[in-house]
Amino acid sequence: MTSTLPQVTPARSTPRTPERRSQRRRPPIGKTVAWVYLIGFLAVTIFPFYWILRTALSNNYSLIDHPSSLLPVDLTLGPFERVLGLATREQAVAQGGSGATIQLGLYLRNSVIYATGLTVLVVLSSLLAAYAFSRLHWRGRDVVFGIFLSALMIPGIMTLLPNFVLIHDLGLTNTFAGLILPGALFSAFSIFFLRQFMLGLPTEIEDAALIDGLGRFRLLFRITVPMSQGPLTTLALLTFINAWNDYFWPLMIAGNSDVRPLTVALGVFQQASPQTQPDFAGLMAATLVAAFPMLVIFILFGRRIVDSIGFTGIR
């Protein structure tokens, strides 16, 4: 894609006056409209995030008097203190909190365990399978791979309830094992994603290592894994994001607050808030805490994620 750039530059430097003039005359209207659209689009995208921040830094009582203020109303860290359990009940109520507490620290921990555990297992299991499907030659390889890929056709809701019954029968509801296991070992997309990359790796290095007497298994971890660092990181990020944001499955499995992740806890906190005078500031503070790790990932790895979506689109 970047290779097209050098072709464009020389064309631009050749003076072709008539075309240039027409370009200068016509596009402004169209281009202005396009820019207005794009800026509007970006504003709609970003504004809700700003509004979370603005509300989370406001005093919940004062919000009622200045609902349209673009800046935080009576700037305070109170909402964060009360959702993180740092404020006393009296302090919370004085700032318009409901008195309902949310043990955000605990739920953060649960989300971290759930998302990290799932990510490590998915990446490891998919790495092994992808290696077998791309670098090894064995009978039935393509048939098995085809069967695995067919799982992409099955919507999540189809296996959700039977898997709940299974986890229930195993006595694993309200455990991290029950939360993580069903999604941890097999992920058709992940295997496909890594296999596509590994198919493109040169075989010479591996062949040389084999001749030098390095075992296949060692070769996988000493040579193939380092060469696949990029896709492995991308896959880990995508898996982590999905697990962090997951709601339906944890809602079924994690009824107990000891394993309940943030997404589910947010829903519970919202329902605990009184209907007459909801604690919007507290709710938005909790929302921001829940979204924060994703914002960090976005800042650190945004480009990588954007590129990976380009890949999945083109196949």
């Binding site: 290696y131 944001n245 919007f280 994703m294 480009r303």
Partner: protein, 307 residues
């Protein structure tokens, strides 16, 4: 899975030298975790689901075979049909609006800027959970203090019960869904645009084609495979919408937003009517499979069209 017999056979067949001798044995070990996961949490649950849909099952007592009872009940369940209608409305709105916005955004981004920062920002809503999106929009749409309603009131003179009125709730929910996914889809289409060779447009320009004509007769046909994929993904995703609705309306008012996944969940987990809940998820599965099949057929037809 790799049988013992496969060993000798593969040695004969894949005679790519000593490098691949004994590969099947290692392969069997390497795909073991994924295979276990596939069988235990993928294949078996599908068949178990099919079985359970023919039973009366309340979790705590063993399932009892009832034949086609659940399916007969499904046909005469008014709430199910209402729920299906609501879901279809949500899906159609999401696909039409989502596709229009994503396509326009992708094309404009492609024309104006290659900035990764812009593309990153566009992607932001995709990174946060549906729960977060639902909560912030519920707050912004609040009839009393929500900023959107304040603006609406300033413009029109009255509030809109976006999530509280039967007419508005599904369009509003689908707009929130579109907000969350439009950036992702725009990036997908953008990636598709980047694969179109600039020479094609040059040729079009030489032939004197106007911008709208080139869009209609060059860009759109060449984008069809990726557009079809975006539609398939959006349809499958929208039919399974859950978190947005569960957090904001819980199906209300008066079942006006009781989408199928929510109805399935409430049957299973508040009424413990598991057999029936599984039956409904089976119906949804068949529906999705049919739609996907039809869409892929269309996609294939289109490919032969342009190539």
């Amino acid at each position: 899975m790799a049988t013992l017999a496969a060993g000798t056979a593969s040695r004969r067949r894949n005679n790519t030298g000593p490098a691949h001798r004994g590969d099947w044995r290692l392969a069997a070990v390497l795909i073991l975790p994924a295979t276990v996961g596939f069988i235990v949490f993928g294949a078996v649950p599908v068949f178990r689901g099919i079985y359970l849909s023919f039973t009366r099952f309340r979790i705590l007592t063993p399932p009892r075979w009832t034949g086609l009872d659940n399916y007969r009940r499904l046909l005469s369940d008014d709430v199910f049909w209402k729920s299906l209608g609501v879901t279809v409305e949500y899906v159609v709105l999401s696909v039409v609006l989502g596709l229009a916005v994503s396509l326009a955004t992708a094309v404009i981004m492609h024309r104006l800027t290659r900035s990764t920062v812009v593309r990153g920002i566009v992607l932001l809503p995709f990174l946060v959970s549906g729960v977060v999106a639902a909560l912030v929009w519920q707050w912004m749409l609040d009839p009393g203090l929500g900023i959107v309603n304040i603006v609406v009131k300033a413009l029109t003179g009255h509030n809109v019960l976006f999530l509280g009125s039967q007419g508005w709730v599904i369009p509003t929910l689908s707009l929130i869904g579109v907000w969350k996914s439009m950036g992702y889809n725009a990036i997908l289409i953008f990636a598709g645009l980047q694969t179109i060779a600039p020479q094609i447009y040059e040729a079009g320009r030489i032939d004197g084609a106007s911008e709208p004509r080139m869009f209609r007769y060059l860009t759109l046909p060449l984008l069809r495979p990726i557009m079809a994929m975006v539609v398939v993904l959006t349809v499958i995703g929208s039919f399974q919408v859950f978190d947005l609705v569960a957090v904001t309306t819980k199906g209300g008012p008066a079942n006006a937003s009781n989408v199928l996944p929510l109805y399935i969940y409430s049957k299973g987990f508040t009424e413990f009517d598991f057999g029936y809940a599984v039956t409904m998820s089976m119906a949804l599965f068949v529906l999705l499979l049919t739609i996907t099949f039809v869409q892929l057929r269309l996609l294939r037809a289109n490919e032969s069209d342009t190539n």
